[in-house]
Each structure stands twice: as structure tokens, then as C-alpha cells.
């Protein structure tokens, strides 16, 4: 996985020939990483939407008193 195993060998070339990418899996993993990021994004959005909907449904079913909002104050 290591792209660089010896900095002296890696940098011991003319500057324009030094390979720029030094992250693990350079040149072979980028596409998979992008797919992974898309999965994280979509997955997070689905989970968040579901939990928010459940919370809003729960709250809207509750019989709120007219004074509920008065004790609902963030103390900061």
C-alpha cells in the first residue's frame, strides 16, 4: 500500500520526474475512494431523513399544551 518506501530514492531524481502523489494506494485506489465517499454521502442523507421524519411525526402526534414552548428554552 505504501507509495513511498524510501524518501532518498523517491526524491533522488530531477524535480520534474519526482512522482507527486504520495498517499497510500496512489494510482490504484482513487476510483474506489470516490465511490466510498458517494456511499457515505447518500447513506448519511437517507439515515438523517428517516430519523428526522420519525422525530417530527412523534412530535406532531403529541398533544402539546399552549405553554410547551415556554419551558423549551436552551440555557446558554
Amino acid at each position: 500500500m505504501a507509495t513511498v518506501s524510501n524518501w532518498i530514492d523517491h526524491l533522488n531524481k530531477p524535480a520534474e520526474e519526482v512522482a507527486g502523489s504520495v498517499y497510500p494506494g496512489a494510482g490504484s485506489s482513487e476510483f474506489i475512494l470516490v465511490l466510498l465517499l458517494i456511499a457515505v454521502w447518500i447513506g448519511w442523507s437517507v439515515i438523517t431523513d428517516k430519523s428526522e421524519r420519525e422525530e417530527l411525526d412523534r412530535l406532531s402526534r403529541k398533544r402539546h399544551s399552549a405553554n410547551d414552548h415556554k419551558s423549551n428554552i436552551t440555557d446558554w
Partner: protein, 466 residues
């Protein structure tokens, strides 16, 4: 970086943009404080989290496609040829159908020993994206779902503002060539579009419960924490300074860039690679801020909320031409923008029952629009680019800055890429039942469940310590 001068130039540029990114982070801190201060107590925590979560959502999508859009769309596509490829198609290249610069799978989109600029430049633009989304966030507080806001934030932050920046905030953008569009510090490309987008969403979302009486008279729902609002706006001013610096290229030799043989002219440039100075724009920033504050204080009769917002609106209005204006011109333009925006805000509120909770449409949308139009008159005849000078609608050369081009540009920003997409997306979300929170929740407060849980926790702790 084969010689010391080249290395110094590169490392200085890298550090310069890095500093601007850190400064611009304060814009978001300011927006969070401002929005929480403007919201009612029962919605505080949700308001804060809504604005905070746009950071990861816009960042992820900016990495995936927002940055790519900026580099791919300067030709329209199909409107004016690129000076790089001489084609009117998308600027592509590299694997995966993406352009070389910003394809998320590209080697430059990571730690790369041969590149010191891509990451900080990407980040500077990303912070602009957060700002665009955050502007929308303030207008719609207390009644939108977090999910819907996330979708809208991605739309404005990683798609529509990126398209407009590619068209009108890029040295190769078609709006410069066809219209002579000029918008150095983003009156239009960030503020007018975000204000227009917010207005489009508000038209569908509707007002907060109780905002309008049964006879249609608007009621004031003022800020609940004036200190948070005050500090928030001061932080936004501070971050805006960083934004101004981030819109510049700090050091550039324009002689070879413009093809002038044997000419060396090192200077800072704006985003269009035309010369300006960091020194001059600092004066203009402060003078337009002052103009906004002066006018706001008078027209709002000393109301702190509107006076602070007017300072921001003053800068926004002068921003389109602040790379070239005289400081006194910047001040006067800031004053004009504030007066018109303030009047428009209340007229639209009464006439169309639009509830813009923080005045974002006025401060960003109207002031940005007006700033673009004024810029067309004041900078009439200046070149929009250094590469060539030509006529409007030619396309192969760059038109000069002119009132008509700026007016059309303002329409594109506010209406075409702002209001219309905002309206359509909000309609779709509304149709899916995902746009607005239920009425009962809005009345009881979005934080109700969190606060009930907190009370239970307190009771449990109290009983355990008896």
C-alpha cells in the same frame, strides 16, 4: 519549483490562500451565531445544527462535483469558445470524462509533491460555497426540515453557484466574452444568486406561523439574542475581508500571460487575471462598509439589526467593481445599495407576504443585483479581461464592461441561476412532503424533544444526589 524564486512564489501563494481560508471560516462562525441569535429560543439548537451540517454536505459534494463544474463549464457549454481549447464544448480532459484539474480521482486532488496550489484554491472556493448556502439558511429558519435544507444547500453550494462562477467568475468565462461581465468580489456570483435562490425557496416555503396577521399585516419577529447577532455580524465582516483576499491572485507576472514579449509586470490580480492591489481593495472594503453603516443607521432609524446588516449590504453592493473603484465611489455605491435594498425588503414583505427571517434576500440578493447594475455604469468601457478587447455578443474576444451586459448578468445571477432553481427544487421537495416541518412542531419548537430529554437527565441527576 526548480529555482528559489519559483519556490518562494509558489509557497507564498500556497500560504496566502491558506490564510484566507482560515479567515473565511469566520464567516461561517458568524453566520451560525447570527442565525441562532435571530431565531426564537425554542428553535435554537436545530437552527445551529442546520447551518453547521451544511459544512460537511457541501464539502463532500464540492469534492465530488462542485469543483469539477467550475472548471468544466466556462464555455456554457455551447455559448463561447474557450481560449484554452478553442472549442465551445465542456472543458474536459483526463480520465473518467472529467477535466484534468478537478476530477475527484485526479492525482492533483490529494497530497501531491508537484502541486502546492490545488488544495488551497479548492478550499477557498469551497468556503465561498458554504457562504452561498449559509445565506439561504438564514432566510428560512424555524420552519424548514434539515433534510430539505441539506438538498437546497448542495444545490446552491455545489451546483448553481459553481455554474455561475464558471460562467462569470473565471478568466475564460463566456459571460466576460459575450456580455463584458465584471464581478470582482462576487456581488452577483455569490450574493445575488444566493439571495435569489433564497427568495425562490421562500415563495414555496411560506412565512413562519404568526408572522402575518389575519389582515395580512406583517409582525416583527425580532432577534432573541442581539449580542449573538452583533458578534456574528462582526465575524462575518472579518471573514469577508479574508474573502476579498481570496478572490485575488496574490502575485502574477502579467507580461507573459498577456503575450507581451519582454514585458515583466508583477502584480496582484483579481479572479479574471486583470491587475489590482490588495492595498486598494482594502480601502474600498472599508469605505463601502462605512457607506453601508452610515446609510443603514439613518434609514433604519438606528435599529442595530438593520444597521449591522446594512454594513454588509454596503460591501456587497460595491463588491462587483471594488477592484477598480475610488474609495469614495465605493462608499457612495454602498449607501445607494443599502437604501434600495432596505426599501425593497419591506415592500416585498408587505406585497407578497414573503417572510425573510434575517433579511438575507435584501442584504445579499437585492444589494448584489444593484451592485452589478451600478458597476456597469461606473466601469463602462473598462476591459473585462486582459487577453483581448472586443464587442458584445462576439464571443471570440472579450467585450468591455457595460451597463446592458451587467444588467443581463444580474438577471442571470438572481433569476436564472438563483430564484428559478430555488423555486423548482422547493416545489419538488414540497410535493414530496419533505420541505416544511409540521405545524404542531413549529409551534412547540424544534428543540422540544431535546429539551424534554435534558429535563429528564437533570431530574435523574438530582434524584441521584439526594
Amino acid at each position: 519549483m526548480t529555482d528559489q524564486l519559483g519556490a518562494l512564489t509558489t509557497i507564498f501563494t500556497e500560504f496566502y490562500y491558506w490564510v484566507t481560508v482560515v479567515l473565511m471560516f469566520l464567516i461561517h462562525v458568524g453566520f451560525c451565531m447570527y442565525e441562532v441569535g435571530a431565531s426564537r429560543y425554542k428553535h435554537h439548537q436545530h437552527t445551529l445544527m442546520k447551518n453547521t451540517m451544511l459544512i460537511p454536505l457541501v464539502t463532500v459534494t464540492w469534492f465530488l462535483f462542485g469543483w469539477w463544474i467550475y472548471w468544466a463549464f466556462p464555455t456554457g457549454p455551447g455559448i463561447a469558445p474557450s481560449i484554452m481549447t478553442e472549442s465551445t464544448g465542456l472543458v474536459l480532459g483526463g480520465g473518467f470524462g472529467g477535466n484534468d484539474l478537478a476530477n475527484p480521482t485526479n492525482a492533483l486532488m490529494a497530497v501531491n509533491l508537484n502541486d502546492h496550489i490545488m488544495g488551497v484554491f479548492w478550499a477557498a472556493f469551497l468556503l465561498f460555497s458554504w457562504t452561498a448556502a449559509s445565506i439561504v439558511s438564514g432566510a428560512i429558519i424555524e420552519r424548514i426540515t434539515t433534510f430539505a435544507f441539506g438538498v437546497l444547500a448542495i444545490a446552491i453550494g455545489s451546483v448553481f453557484w459553481s455554474i455561475d462562477a464558471s460562467w462569470g467568475w473565471h478568466f475564460d468565462g463566456w459571460m466576460l466574452k459575450i456580455l463584458g461581465y465584471h464581478d470582482a468580489y462576487a456581488s452577483g456570483v455569490i450574493h445575488a444568486i444566493a439571495g435569489g435562490f433564497a427568495l425562490g425557496v421562500l415563495m414555496v416555503l411560506g412565512p413562519r406561523i404568526g408572522k402575518f396577521s389575519s389582515s395580512g399585516e406583517p409582525r416583527n419577529i425580532g432577534p432573541r439574542n442581539p449580542w449573538l447577532v452583533t458578534i456574528g455580524l462582526f465575524l462575518i465582516y472579518t471573514g469577508f475581508w479574508g474573502f476579498y483576499a481570496a478572490c485575488n491572485v496574490p502575485i502574477y507576472d502579467l507580461g507573459p500571460e498577456y503575450g507581451m514579449e519582454g514585458v515583466t509586470f508583477w502584480t496582484a490580480t483579481n479572479i479574471y487575471l486583470t491587475p489590482t492591489t490588495l492595498s486598494g481593495i482594502t480601502m474600498n472594503f472599508l469605505m463601502s462598509l462605512s457607506g453601508g453603516l452610515l446609510a443603514g443607521y439613518v434609514i433604519a432609524k438606528g435599529d442595530p439589526f438593520w444597521t449591522y446588516s446594512s454594513g454588509l449590504a454596503g460591501i456587497i453592493c460595491a463588491s462587483a467593481g471594488n477592484d477598480l473603484y475610488h474609495p469614495i465611489q465605493a462608499l457612495i455605491i454602498g449607501m445607494i445599495g443599502v437604501v434600495i435594498s432596505y426599501k425593497l425588503h419591506y415592500w416585498v414583505e408587505r406585497k407578497f407576504k414573503i417572510d425573510d427571517a434575517v433579511g438575507a434576500v435584501a442584504v445579499h440578493g437585492y444589494a448584489g443585483f444593484i451592485g452589478l447594475v451600478i458597476c456597469g455604469f461606473v466601469l463602462n468601457g473598462y476591459p473585462s479581461s486582459g487577453y483581448s478587447v472586443g464587442a458584445m455578443f462576439d464571443g471570440t474576444t472579450y467585450a468591455t464592461i457595460n451597463p446592458l451586459g451587467q444588467f443581463i448578468g444580474a438577471i442571470i445571477m438572481f433569476l436564472v441561476l438563483g430564484l428559478i432553481p430555488g423555486y423548482i427544487i422547493a416545489r419538488v421537495l414540497n410535493g414530496m412532503g419533505k420541505l416544511r416541518i409540521p405545524r404542531e412542531v413549529e409551534i412547540a419548537g424544534l428543540d422540544y424533544e431535546m429539551m424534554e430529554a435534558a429535563k429528564d437527565d437533570e431530574k435523574a441527576v438530582s434524584s441521584a444526589t439526594r
